[in-house]
Symmetry: C2
Subunit: 301 residues, 2 copies
Amino acid sequence: MVDIYRSRCGATSELRERHDPIIYGRWNPQAPLTQRQVEFYERNGYLILKNVFIDDEVKRLQEEAQSLIADPAAMNQDTIITESGGNEVRSIFAIHQQNTLFARLAADQRLAGIARFLLDDIPYIHQSRLNYKPGFAGKEFYWHSDFETWHVEDGMPQMRALSMSVLLADNNENNGPLLLIPGSHASYITCVGETPEEHYRTSLRKQEYGVPDCDSLRHLASMHGIEAMTGEAGTVVMFDCNIMHGSNSNITPFPRSNAFFVYNACSNALVEPFGPKTQRPAFVADRSFEPLCIVDGTLTE
Amino acid sequence: MVDIYRSRCGATSELRERHDPIIYGRWNPQAPLTQRQVEFYERNGYLILKNVFIDDEVKRLQEEAQSLIADPAAMNQDTIITESGGNEVRSIFAIHQQNTLFARLAADQRLAGIARFLLDDIPYIHQSRLNYKPGFAGKEFYWHSDFETWHVEDGMPQMRALSMSVLLADNNENNGPLLLIPGSHASYITCVGETPEEHYRTSLRKQEYGVPDCDSLRHLASMHGIEAMTGEAGTVVMFDCNIMHGSNSNITPFPRSNAFFVYNACSNALVEPFGPKTQRPAFVADRSFEPLCIVDGTLTE
């Protein structure tokens, strides 16, 4: 397979073209998004959907998340990622495989239905996690395109995937919200430096390879600006697999948590990684490619 | 002298009363602030003044700041503070003693005149600095009350001082702006732990003592919220010496810089430190107590 998204091979970074569509589905009145929402997503690479879940659903998800984070020993230990330089839980991976409520959430029509429309294909969950950015001590996470990593380290062939973050706490400008560069999904920045073996062990906490260069970031941010993905608990933030994003630290007392799902098109299932030959573990990049069985109704039924 | 603001002595933190006024001057129509501004400052402990300096003045200050940061070797080396874990200049202290333009700025009627009114006394510069928070790599700075440190480590007797930050770059929500808890200036949080000798050598980069406890911060932030001090270059942010403040990291490409002056009332000049016996150096806590000679007019005259 020709690698149209080569990265971490050259001595310099390059800003290249994206070769894939952003929207695969064709809008029609039955689509799960309005035409305006689809156009916004295509142009900006993200969309914020407010009040997707009702209060009782949000409460149930929050309680479930709290109980999981309070007892990490009950989970598969490989899937627990702690803060860089600390012991606080930052993320629990493969959450949809370890918990029935989060499995149900991943398959929900209000998330998976939109993914199916935008990807114009049955989606599967490439990666899922419960993210927890603690108050006082939440660390920053540097700019990156998820696709660059998924392509190089996991062998995702094309840009036909997207992420959905269900906010489980109020995210405002001050508690380290997701920052992204609108429109950056339409370019592809190649990164410098070879990937070390077993990179995922450190990169889930602090990324050091697959990091875009300062000139490209300055160019993109000056051209497009930077937007903070803020909203109340229950808000859904969805964004393209190739959008440039990161987050600042969180010194506020207010933790920031979300449930995070990556939907990949079944037709875009992983092949051999384009970078290092060792595959990352299944909890980071699933290879069962199980088509999602989309479920209607609310989470409290 | 009885220490009414004892701190770093007990095993637990305490939220105590402030014993000093916030506004010392009495408002009158000749005051350099409107009555509404004075009331806002008294209640919230801060005030943002827009368009204080005209474009030409801002440009001149920016150029001067750039040239100083570009050639730190020309300055007193003790006054140069680099980023924690890096070599980038974070601050240059005693800037009003090393540069005529910044000396002129410190004495400007639009800053010093307001300080004189609020403190109801001739002010002197307790500390000054040029702050530079680099893009991509600007680190967070944890919550603290300046007064707690100035009292314990420098011997500032009472809360009769204030800070003014002249923004030299656009500060928005995303590039690590100053965060403060409005209203927190009306309480005094005592901190735990004795101060090590020569604490200033590390504390100017990363504070580890004189740090308030999580419960008090949670209480204050839940009660009052958190405000980001944003504004365009040329904006002046002024705040009480005892307000709780800090800042998150800055992963954006956009650096954040400001000129920072602490005005203390001459009648509130430093005595022996209330904590460790060794005095901090003059570039951090000046002991010449030279009354400011306030200057009218613009910086470009």
